[in-house]
C-alpha cells in the first residue's frame, strides 16, 4: 500500500523538542537577562553604598588623622620651651618700630634664603631647644614633614628644618591663622612645601600665652604621602582603590600617581561625575587608567580648611569588570547551563514527543490495519488526554461505520434478491405478454377475415336494399299509371260522359271505383314508406296557418263522417296560428288519423279534432269513442303492417302502413305522436309539432341545400330580403294583411326566378331565397332582378300600403364566402340598403 508522502515538515516529536527547547531557552534567557540587569542594578546600588561607606570611613579616618595631628600640635604649642622662644622673639621686637620690624624681617628673610644649612644663623635657629624638639617630633612621626613656629610678626622662631623663608606673615595661611590677632586654626590645601620638599597640607595653629594672647603661629606640614596612608593601603579586590581629588579634578592622592600632576578626568567629565546625585558613576577612562571604572565618590572637607569654599572628593574606584565580575561570572555559566539544559531537553523532548506521538501512531497503525482488512483490530489508547478522547470517538465512528456497512450489505442483499425476483417476474411477464400478443394476433387475424366477410355481406345487403327500393318505386310508379287510367275511365263512365248507365252498372262501377281508390292508397302508402325508409322523403317547412289546415281537413272528411252519421267536431282557436311546417305532410298525418277514427268508430259515434296552441308547440289530437286498442297492443300500433281487429263496419281494410307513415312524418317535424286508448273506451291519437323559431328553420333550409350541393360539388347562394320596420307595418296593417303582403312578395320572387328555388318567409318581415347550383355572380343577377320586381310590386300596390316601405337585400355564396348555414346567413344579411318610396 503506497503511503502518501507527506510534505517535509517537522514531525510531532521534533515539534515537541523544538517547543520544549524554545520554551526553556526563552525562559532561561529571560531569567538570565532579568537577573543580570536586576542584579546589575542591585549590585550598583549595593556597591555604591558599600564603596560609599568605605569612602566615608576613609574620610573619617583622614579627618581623625588630621584632627589627631592638630591636637598633637595643640599640645606642642603649649610647650613652655616653645612659648618662651616665641616670647623671646617677640620681646626683641618690642623695642622696634613696626617699620623697623619690617625692615629687620625683610633683611632676615633675605639672609635666610641666601644662607646655606651650615650658616651659623641657620644653625642658631635650628639648633635651639625648640627646633631640636621639633626635629625629634618630625623624625618620630613620618607624617610630619616640617614644623616651625613664628613670632607674632611672622618671623621664624624655631623649625625642624631649614624653611624656605624666614618671613611668613606674607603667607595666606599665616594671615588666616593670625586672623588679625585672634588666632585661628587653619588647615591648608595641598601644596608643595619648598622647604620640606614635600607635597602636603599644613596645620597652622595660633600660639597663645597663658593669658590667651596671640604670641605666635605654629605650622606643621603633613606629608600627604604619609597622611593619606589609609588611602594608600586601601584596596578592594584587585583594582579597587581610593583616590582623593580636588574639585578641579586633580588627583590629590593616588597610590600610583604623583599628586597634583594628573587630572582624574577631563574637566567636563569631572563635573558630570561629581554632579551625579547618586554618588556614583561609571567612567570610561581616567587618569592613567584605561579601563571602565566604577567610581563612588564622597565629598570631603578637611577640618579648618583654608579654602573653605572648595572641597576634596574621596573616590573609591574599581574596574567595572572586577566590580561586576560576580555578575558576569554568573553569565557564562548561566548560558552554559541554558545550552546544557537545552541539550538535555532534546532527548527529553524526544521522549515527550514520543509520548505525545505514541497514541497517534497507534491510531495510525490501527487505521492502516483496518483499511487493509483487519476489521476487528483493537484500538487501545489510554493516555488520559484529548488523544484518548479522540481515540474513543474514532472507535465509535469505526463501529458505526461497521454497522452502516453491515446495513448496506444487508440492503444490497435484499436488493439483489429483489432484483432476482423482479427478473423472474419480468421473465414471467414477458412470457405472459408474448402469449397475450400471440393470442391477440391470432384473434386479430380471425377478426380481419370475418370483417372482410362482413363487408362483403354488407355490400350484398346494400345492393339488395337498393334493389328493393328501386323495385318498390318502379313497381309503384308502374302500377300508378294503369291505375289512374282505370280511375279516369271509370269516372268517365260514372259521370255518364260515355253515355248513360243503369243502376246496376253504376253500383258495380262504384264498387270498382272505390277499390281503385283503395289500390291507389295502398300503392301510395307503399311508395311513401319506401321513400321514407330510403331517406328520400323531404320535409320542406314553411310558415303555415295550422288552424286553417286543421279546419280544412275536418271539412274535407265531414263528408265521410256524415255518411256514417258520426259527429265530427273541430276545435281550434280563432285567428291565425302560423307555424313552420310542411303543410302537405301535416295534412297527410291529419288525414290518416281522421280516417282511422272514422273507420274504427261505429255509426253515430263521436270524433273530435282539437288544436291546442301551446307556448312551444302545437298539439293536435283526434279522439273517438270507437272500439279502442288494448294496452298490450299499444306498442305495436305504429309498426308497419299492423292492424288490430277488423273495423266495425265493412270498409276498406287499409294497408296497415298509415300510422307508421304518420309517425315518420311527425318525427321528421321533430314532434311526437302517441296514443291514449283502452278497449271499448275509444282512442285518442295526439301529435305535437314544435314551434321552431324562424332562425332555426332558415338554417335548416340552408343546411339542407348545402348538403345537397356539396354532394355535387356545386355552389349555393343565399339572398335575403328584409322589410324594415315590419313590426310597425304589422301593427298598422294588421297581422293577417301584413303577412299576406309578405306572401305576395314571396310569390313575386318565385315568379321571377328562372329555376325552382327554395324560398322561406319569416313573420318578422324577412324572406330568404336559397339558390342551388348558383354561384355568386349569378346570384347577383338574380338579386337585382328580384329587387326590380319588388320595387315594381310596391309601387303598384302603394295604395294598399301604409306610407313608405323600405327594404334591404343581401346575398352570400357557399363555399366562397361562407362555409356553414350560420355564416352564410350572417354574411348575407343587411349587405345592401335599398330605398324605395312611392315617389320612385
Amino acid at each position: 500500500m503506497r503511503k502518501r508522502s507527506l510534505k517535509k515538515g517537522l514531525n510531532i516529536r521534533g515539534k515537541a523538542v523544538v517547543v520544549i527547547c524554545m520554551s526553556i531557552f526563552t525562559v532561561m534567557l529571560m531569567t538570565i537577562a532579568l537577573t543580570y540587569f536586576v542584579g546589575l542594578r542591585m549590585m550598583r546600588s549595593l556597591l555604591s553604598e558599600e564603596h560609599g561607606k568605605y569612602a566615608t570611613l576613609l574620610t573619617s579616618a583622614l579627618d581623625r588623622i588630621i584632627k589627631a595631628e592638630i591636637n598633637d600640635l595643640k599640645v606642642y604649642v603649649k610647650n613652655p620651651v616653645w612659648i618662651n622662644k616665641v616670647e623671646e622673639a617677640n620681646n626683641r621686637y618690642s623695642k622696634m618700630s613696626p617699620e623697623e620690624v619690617r625692615t629687620h624681617l625683610a633683611a632676615m628673610d633675605k639672609r635666610w634664603i641666601a644662607a646655606s644649612d651650615d650658616d651659623p644663623l641657620v644653625k642658631e635657629y635650628l639648633e635651639s631647644d625648640a627646633s631640636m624638639r621639633m626635629k625629634v617630633i618630625c623624625d618620630s612621626d613620618p607624617r610630619i614633614g616640617e614644623i616651625f613656629i613664628t613670632d607674632k610678626y611672622g618671623g621664624l622662631v624655631a623649625a625642624s628644618g631649614k624653611t624656605e623663608d624666614f618671613y611668613q606673615s606674607d603667607e595666606a595661611w599665616w594671615q588666616e591663622a593670625f586672623d588679625g590677632g585672634a588666632g585661628k586654626t587653619v588647615v591648608t590645601d595641598i601644596s608643595r612645601d619648598e622647604s620640606s620638599g614635600t607635597l602636603g597640607i599644613s596645620l597652622v595653629l595660633p600660639m597663645k600665652d597663658s593669658n590667651g594672647e596671640l604670641i605666635g603661629i605654629a605650622k606643621e606640614v603633613l606629608d600627604i604621602k604619609n597622611l593619606f596612608s589609609p588611602l594608600e593601603t586601601f584596596e578592594i579586590g584587585k583594582t579597587g582603590h581610593a583616590v582623593l581629588i580636588n574639585e578641579q579634578g586633580y588627583i590629590i592622592f593616588h597610590k600610583d600617581l604623583v599628586p597634583l600632576t594628573v587630572k582624574y578626568l577631563k574637566k567636563g567629565d569631572i563635573k558630570d561625575l561629581l554632579g551625579k546625585k547618586s554618588g556614583w558613576g561609571i567612567v570610561s577612562e581616567h587618569g592613567v587608567h584605561k579601563q571602565k571604572t566604577f567610581v563612588v565618590f564622597r565629598p570631603y572637607i578637611p577640618p579648618f580648611f583654608l579654602n573653605s569654599g572648595t572641597k576634596w572628593y574621596l573616590l573609591i574606584d574599581q574596574d567595572v569588570v572586577e566590580v561586576f565580575a560576580p555578575l558576569n561570572i554568573f553569565i557564562l555559566p548561566a548560558i552554559m547551563i541554558v545550552l546544557i539544559a537545552m541539550l538535555v531537553m532534546i532527548p527529553v523532548g524526544f521522549v515527550f514527543g514520543n509520548l505525545l506521538v505514541a497514541p497517534i501512531k497507534k491510531l495510525k497503525k490501527a487505521t492502516e490495519k483496518i483499511i487493509a482488512g483487519y476489521e476487528d483490530y483493537k484500538i487501545d489508547i489510554k493516555t488520559g488526554d484529548e488523544i484518548e478522547e479522540f481515540a474513543e470517538s474514532f472507535k465509535e465512528m469505526l463501529s458505526r461505520l461497521k454497522a452502516k456497512q453491515n446495513e448496506l450489505i444487508k440492503a444490497k442483499d435484499e436488493i439483489e434478491d429483489l432484483s432476482k425476483s423482479l427478473e423472474k417476474k419480468v421473465e414471467d411477464r414477458t412470457a405472459e405478454l408474448e402469449t397475450q400478443s400471440w393470442g391477440l394476433t391470432k384473434a386479430n387475424e380471425g377478426i380481419k377475415v370475418l370483417y372482410k366477410e362482413l363487408e362483403e355481406r354488407n355490400e350484398q345487403l346494400k345492393r339488395l336494399d337498393q334493389l328493393k327500393s328501386d323495385f318498390v318505386s318502379t313497381v309503384s310508379h308502374e302500377l300508378r299509371t294503369p291505375l289512374s287510367i282505370m280511375k279516369e275511365g271509370v269516372s268517365l263512365v260514372l259521370d255518364k260522359i260515355t253515355g248513360s248507365i243503369n243502376e246496376n252498372q253504376e253500383k258495380t262501377l262504384g264498387m270498382v271505383q272505390s277499390n281503385i281508390d283503395r289500390l291507389a292508397t295502398i300503392i301510395n302508402d307503399l311508395l311513401d314508406i319506401s321513400k321514407i325508409e330510403a331517406g328520400k322523403m323531404e320535409v320542406k317547412k314553411s310558415l303555415t296557418d295550422i288552424c286553417y289546415l286543421v279546419k280544412d281537413a275536418c271539412a274535407k272528411w265531414r263528408l265521410q263522417s256524415d255518411k256514417k252519421k258520426q259527429e265530427l267536431t273541430c276545435v281550434a282557436p280563432d285567428g291565425l296560428v302560423n307555424v313552420y311546417l310542411d303543410a302537405d305532410k301535416v295534412v297527410q298525418i291529419l288525414n290518416n288519423l281522421i280516417s282511422n277514427a272514422i273507420k274504427y268508430t261505429p255509426d253515430n259515434g263521436k270524433i273530435k279534432v282539437e288544436l291546442i296552441n301551446k307556448k312551444d308547440e302545437i298539439e293536435i289530437s283526434v279522439s273517438d269513442n270507437g272500439i279502442g286498442i288494448s294496452r298490450e297492443d299499444h306498442p305495436r300500433v305504429f309498426s308497419k303492417f299492423q292492424q288490430f281487429a277488423r273495423p266495425p263496419s265493412a270498409g276498406s281494410k287499409g294497408t296497415g302502413l298509415g300510422l307508421a307513415i304518420a309517425r315518420e312524418l311527425v318525427q321528421m317535424h321533430q314532434g311526437t305522436i302517441w296514443l291514449e286508448s283502452e278497449v271499448n273506451k275509444g282512442s285518442r291519437f295526439v301529435f305535437t309539432l314544435p314551434k321552431m323559431d324562424s332562425e332555426t328553420v332558415f338554417k335548416e333550409h340552408i343546411s339542407t341545400g348545402i348538403k345537397e350541393v356539396s354532394t355535387r360539388g356545386a355552389p349555393l347562394s343565399l339572398i335575403t330580403l328584409k322589410v324594415t320596420g315590419f313590426s310597425q307595418i304589422q301593427k298598422e296593417m294588421g297581422f293577417e294583411k301584413s303577412h299576406n303582403m309578405l306572401k305576395e312578395i314571396e310569390a313575386m320572387i318565385n315568379g321571377s326566378l328562372r329555376r325552382k328555388a327554395d324560398t322561406v318567409v319569416r313573420d318578422t318581415g324577412e324572406i330568404i331565397v336559397v339558390l342551388l347550383d348558383t354561384s355568386k355572380t349569378n346570384a347577383e343577377v338574380v338579386r337585382s332582378r328580384i329587387e326590380k320586381v319588388i320595387q315594381k310590386y310596391l309601387i303598384d300596390s302603394r295604395k294598399k300600403l301604409p306610407g313608405e316601405i323600405y327594404f334591404t337585400m343581401g346575398f352570400a355564396s357557399y363555399p366562397d364566402e361562407a362555409k356553414s348555414d350560420e355564416e352564410l346567413l350572417n354574411k348575407a344579411r343587411g349587405v345592401i340598403r335599398i330605398r324605395t318610396d312611392n315617389n320612385e
Partner: protein, 121 residues
C-alpha cells in the same frame, strides 16, 4: 415418409365433412371424431401428427382436451390447432397456455385453416 395423420374433433358433422374433404385433397390422412373423449382415446392408440380441435365441443371443452392430449402423448406430442367461433383474444391466450400450436377463428374461408395446418406439418 408416410402420409401425415390429422385428427379432427368437431361436433358439427357438416364442418367435419367439409374439412375432411379439404384435407384429404391436400393428401393428409384424416380421422374425424365428434367428441373430445373419442379424440383422446384415438390419440392414445394411434399416431397423430396434428389434431384440430373445436373449442366448443360439448363433452370436454377444447382447451382441456388439448392439455390432456399433450399430457398423454409421450415423446412426440401431436401439433394442436384450435378452431373457434370466438374472436375473444383471451380464448387465444388460453389456447396458447394449454400448449396449442395455433388458433384459427372460424370463417367462411376454410382454406385459412388448411393453410395453418399445412404450415405446422
Amino acid at each position: 415418409m408416410g402420409r401425415k395423420n390429422i385428427l379432427l374433433i368437431d361436433d358439427n358433422p357438416t364442418e367435419l365433412n367439409i374439412l375432411k374433404s379439404l384435407f384429404e385433397h391436400e393428401g393428409y390422412e384424416t380421422v374425424c371424431v365428434e367428441t373430445c373423449s373419442e379424440g383422446v382415446k384415438y390419440i392414445k392408440s394411434s399416431k397423430v401428427d396434428i389434431a384440430v380441435i373445436d373449442t366448443l365441443v360439448p363433452d370436454i371443452n377444447g382447451f382441456e382436451t388439448c392439455r390432456m392430449i399433450l399430457e398423454s402423448s409421450g415423446v412426440t406430442p401431436p401439433k394442436i390447432v384450435m378452431i373457434t367461433s370466438s374472436i375473444d383474444a383471451t380464448d387465444a391466450v388460453k389456447a396458447r397456455r394449454m400448449g396449442a400450436d395455433d388458433y384459427v377463428v372460424k370463417t367462411q374461408d376454410f382454406l385459412i385453416l388448411v393453410e395453418a395446418v399445412k404450415k405446422l406439418l
